[in-house]
Point group: C2
Chain length 392, copies 2
């Protein structure tokens, strides 16, 4: 019935219900009525519609106390699926997600070669197989990569050792949507949705690996910027202007908070395995090596000072730390706290935004990719498309 407003408006309540499902894995109809302020008749109608559209199925709920037993809502066994992918240097990981956001069928693939061609071929083959196995159900692929993302393409990646790469061929020739995001930013999304900073209106995620990434998340959505490169917080010039960053700028914060910074402070050559080197220095510091302790303290100071500056600027409800930032802070928690507080504007000090360790560990990027991907599958438009494709 037309391509106007009505076609998508129809699915507005349905989209809300599916959004609710993401954060409440097995809700009852009564839960919907209570939390979404629906009438029970609307709940009946909406769930019925979602069932007919093969988006939801219902199963009897285990009874608990008096009252008529209700049913639990869950993704339909023939419902849409999302493929979440994370590309790392040494391996790729992927998993499937249904409309409840739970990851399943997780696989890890060790790269026999780190070349983008090889990774692309592997992932393309994976998509082909999964499409075959779940005919028609696979609707989108959402990829997290340790790279600068711009207009849906990877621009450069120090971590992967890649130049510009277009990953969209993974789904070329299919009807799947394809989404790319920066891994640190997506990890922040996961934290803001279901992790350390869950239920905060605005959050800041800081993930240290090679450099520092992450960024701002408002209401679960990342600040992506104009072209998708809106989480490159490591390239704020908070550092030493005499240092040149591989990104092309000078004085980047990136250079002050990772293994490269530790090596510089220890007057050693920049290591090839920057992350492994950092962990070794942290171990030396833990065992009392004073030089290592001093180097770690300088890096923790840079991390805390920048964190405070970003809190001043963007006023997040809470901050989450990921990757190397977690052991860095716990190597000198008091120092971090002191520098953090001293870097805050006075009015922030009464109740500084808490700085929390990430809850998703190294699965954050995959969870974030799934979250963003499922957002795309549960828009009113996407639901209308799914329904039309099933009934046509």
């Amino acid at each position: 019935m037309s391509a106007g407003i009505a076609r998508t408006v129809r699915w507005r309540a349905a989209a809300e219900v599916l959004g609710y499902l993401r954060h409440h894995p097995r809700p009852t109809r009564a839960d919907l009525v209570r939390d979404l302020h629906l009438s029970s008749s609307s709940a009946t109608e909406i769930t019925g519609r979602l069932r007919r559209a093969r988006l939801l199925s219902e199963e009897p709920a285990p009874t608990s106390g008096r009252g008529r037993p209700t049913t639990l809502l869950r993704p339909h066994p023939d419902g849409p699926l999302l493929l979440a992918i994370e590309v790392r240097h040494e391996q790729s990981r992927w998993a499937l997600a249904g409309l409840d956001g739970q990851l399943h069928d997780m696989h890890t693939h060790q790269h026999s070669s780190p070349d983008p061609e090889h990774v692309l071929a592997t992932l393309t083959d994976t998509v082909r197989q999964l499409r075959h196995r779940h005919s028609g159900r696979l609707r989108a692929a959402s990829l997290a990569a340790a790279a600068t993302v711009r207009n849906g393409q990877l621009v450069q990646s120090a971590t992967l050792g890649w130049g510009p790469v277009d990953m969209s061929p993974i789904t070329a020739g299919t009807d799947l949507s394809f989404i790319v995001g920066n891994d640190a930013t997506l990890a922040g999304v996961a934290e803001a949705r279901t992790g350390a900073t869950a239920n905060t209106r605005t959050a800041l995620h800081l993930l240290v690996d090679v450099g520092i990434g992450g960024g701002l998340i408002a209401d679960g959505r990342p600040w992506t910027g104009a072209t998708g490169a809106g989480g490159e917080i490591g390239h704020l010039p908070l550092g030493d202007f005499t240092l040149h960053c591989p990104c092309g700028a000078t004085g980047c914060w990136d250079l002050e908070v990772d293994g490269r910074a530790l090596a510089r402070h220890l007057r050693q050559d920049s290591p090839t395995d920057i992350r492994g080197y950092a962990y070794r220095v942290l171990a030396h510091a833990a065992s009392g090596d004073t030089d290592a302790v001093a180097a770690v303290h300088r890096v923790v100071t840079a991390l805390a000072r920048g964190t405070a500056g970003l809190v001043n600027t963007h006023d997040p409800t809470a901050v989450s730390l990921g990757g190397l930032a977690v052991p860095l802070r716990s190597a000198a928690p008091h120092l971090f706290e002191t520098v953090y507080r001293n870097g805050l504007m006075t009015f922030h000090r009464q109740q500084p935004p808490p700085v929390l360790d990430a809850a998703h560990g190294d699965l954050g990027a995959l969870h974030g990719a799934a979250a963003i991907g499922l957002d795309h599958l549960t828009t009113e438009t996407a639901l209308a498309d799914w329904h039309d494709s099933r009934t046509a």
Copy 2:
């Protein structure tokens, strides 16, 4: 009909039409049909409903060419009004805005005393008078202030010389909504809606006055942060860590880009009239005073370097400059451009986000306050409320 979804869903299309009106002052019905993808029957129905609700009125359109003449849509003469207010050091300004976003009845009031009590009393009286004059039409007051805003209150203001002030008594005892925002941030909103960065998805506004304010704007909405203090970009620690900022932190960018920085570079005492001092130094530099030129160059460098860092981090489509930033840049445009480009990540340099002078001049904050205030009046909920209050 209930307090559920339906009550507000009804007004969804209406809200879209009123949003359209904000950026297209006198649209025809045919414009609506074309741009909002409505059917002509829907346009008839929606405009009819909005007319009955005293939100829109129609007037015959001047004919131009063939075809049946159409009507122009405009705010209803008995429709809702917003009061936009800007509080400055020496004066307050206010204006009324209808649903088309046009400001009218603008007034300026010179403060006989800069005390908050005096300003509050003046504005409270203004609200009382306007409410009397436009009985029932005045629905909200939206205030822009040169202060740090937090949870709807002013926390501190170096410019105004105020400590914490609660401005909400302005509308106490009325049914008016009250909204406060930082003036620089709201000026950024105005630029992003109808000014230099109009039609950009994400924009960055930099307004130099005493310190630097502004912030990020996505799709016309400012990044307000958790408590509303999300535009304090001047308190990023991009500067000299040995300098203490009145905000409580050290090394703030604030201290590098305004009259205080110029005075420091000229080895003079920090002036009381920081803005006036800055303009005087700019005049000296323009007339060839080499010391002044050097000082201006240092400030322009700090401004351009920070701008590049924020572009790296947040990837805006475009940047707008306001206040003192405009004459600063034009005092050394080549220097600004060079430092700006050199501060960008390589992949940004092919097409750097343009840095544009603000289009609204010193009316930006007032326009931004009006824009945000009208947003509140045209939500589906607010429209439902307005309708119910008119028909009850």
